[in-house]
Symmetry: C2
Subunit: 338 residues, 2 copies
């Protein structure tokens, strides 16, 4: 492998000049630049990442801490990861993939050993133990999520509270007055994953504001979970005309169940789902949905990290506006039915 010295000799310049040609951090005459670039190309020179990191204290790598379980939300996580990697590359950075399993120790390991310039975390919990650890790192971090105390740490996410309000006012606008929430699995609530709480809070608030009758219930995965969740909802509030579903896994079995029990969507019951667009349109009924903008959120997380690295100011809490797309699962209720 040729080094910067080899290139310098071949081009008849000093190593520093080669370095400056590469970084563009100082003006170089067109002529020497050309000579240097020719030498680089001819020798197939590639700067050594470790040497660079050592000399410049920059690795051009960011850590992505992802919940690599197989249980929940797999497609969404994948979308986040894809967005983060793609965005990072567009800033000439690479991505080191860590699992959430390693916990605080993993973060400290990569940060202290200077493997990364910044960290992006997903799947934050309400009182996430990793946050105090993050504060002590010299590298900045960006959270995808919104834990309770996030002072001094940049957070990016969909505004789940607003999403719940949007869903309810859409249904209310269609005349619905009795509405059930099919929530995430109890495990998600138990972990206090921040989006579940925020959605639920927004839901209850909007329900009160709009004067609706609502019931909410977590929903275990699988056909059985859906069955029992629906039974609970129906038991606690009869005459349900609409459901808000904040649970990707539940959608398919839920639709199956409704069909099996003779409740047509949207004729007998309307649905607003919170899920990625492609999930919404891959169901037997094209679902009216509020998108989980994983791509935008991931990209924004990287952009925020980059600004932080440049020492620029950032907004420390950035919640993306939800946007509802009307499809085929919501129906106007005539006055007589109200």
């Amino acid at each position: 492998m040729p080094t910067i010295n080899d290139v310098a000799k071949a081009a008849g310049v000093s190593p520093s000049t080669v370095s400056y040609v590469l970084s563009g951090r100082r003006p170089i005459s067109a002529e020497t630049r050309a000579r240097v670039q020719a030498a680089i190309a001819e020798l197939g020179f590639h700067p050594h990442a470790g040497a660079r990191a050592l000399a410049s204290s920059k690795t051009n790598v960011i850590a992505l801490v992802a919940p690599l379980r197989v249980d929940v939300n797999v497609p969404v996580i994948m979308q986040f990861a894809t967005a983060v990697v793609t965005a990072a590359r567009s800033y000439n950075h690479d991505v080191l993939l860590l699992t959430k399993d390693e916990g605080t120790a993993g973060l400290e390991r990569v940060a202290h050993s200077t493997m990364v310039d910044a960290l992006i975390l997903m799947d934050l919990e309400r009182d996430d133990l990793r946050i105090p650890a993050l504060r002590k790192l010299k590298q900045p971090s960006v959270l995808i999520g919104l834990p309770a105390d996030h002072t001094g740490i940049a957070c990016v996410d969909l505004d789940f509270g607003a999403a719940a309000r949007t869903a309810l006012s859409h249904l209310a606008g269609h005349g619905h007055r009795r509405i059930g929430l099919v929530g995430p699995s109890p495990a998600v609530y138990r972990r206090q994953t921040t989006y579940a709480d925020r959605f639920l809070a927004g839901f209850l608030e909007a329900s009160a504001d709009l004067g609706l009758r609502t019931v909410t219930h977590p929903c275990e995965p699988g056909a059985e979970g859906v069955r029992s969740c629906m039974a609970d909802l129906d038991a606690e509030l009869d005459g349900l005309t609409a459901l808000v579903v904040h649970n990707e896994e539940a959608l398919r079995p839920l639709l199956d169940l409704l069909r099996a029990t003779g409740r047509r969507v949207p004729e007998d019951i309307s649905i607003v789902a919170i899920c990625p667009r492609d999930v919404a349109i891959s169901m037997p009924v094209n679902l009216t949905s509020i998108d989980i903008p994983a791509h935008d959120v991931g990209t924004l997380a990287v952009e925020t990290a980059m600004r932080l690295l440049e020492g620029r100011r950032v907004e420390y809490t950035r919640l993306l506006e939800p946007s509802l797309v009307e499809r085929d699962s919501c129906r106007e209720i005539s006055t007589s039915h109200r």
Copy 2:
């Protein structure tokens, strides 16, 4: 951040001694070792990864090149990734995540700039353009998949040919004689993703060996794709009593379709699926299936990479035995029906 020199001073030894305490590459008296370790702990010393890489020409990072599209096989890809990261950590390595989109350039970039010690690639195509590039790298690589010409490169995968044979002989053993294959999407065949070809070849071979009447068809995603695939299969061979489904995405809509058209599983039609276990048991009918052992394959890929890095011998083609688990989707056909 304290350096190795700070530690050396604090412990009253030379930096090289600290280094040797850390690496264990030469005997150290219990006493000095203790002093050094105390100093390390007290100062909170963490070796600088870049400096290490520079001095030792080892990064302790492996690249994982994953197909980060959102379209196909998302859960399986996630399982591979999880297994690779977990296994890598157990060898004290980290994982740099690259997308397949970057193609050959991405591999060369991380390899030439010495960011990684080895590469693991998934989603290989029959005549994958990246393979010649891999051969030129100084770092070893391990493929998850089996492209046509893989001489000199380690490959690890499920034995898809054997999986097809296993599926067919299971069905044949249950008396089935007319069997359809619901294959991956045409896009997968078009890309010549290696597992599709190998499965199909094994299927045709076993079909001939066992004297079966079989038809095969790719299957587009979604309800419509399944409908048209089934129509084709039925048209080309009537009296189908069993299906082999090598298409995760198709499973759910397929079961929906069969139910809608009054074909009960397994009473009227038997099914063997090739898919991860958790997919098989999350369907309305618990499916008899051949597992895609993503965890084992990912772990084995990392192990192979590690052996290669140690300069040890490896088997260059390692195809894992398929294992079929009987559940509720296959039925014995009585002689009268044959």
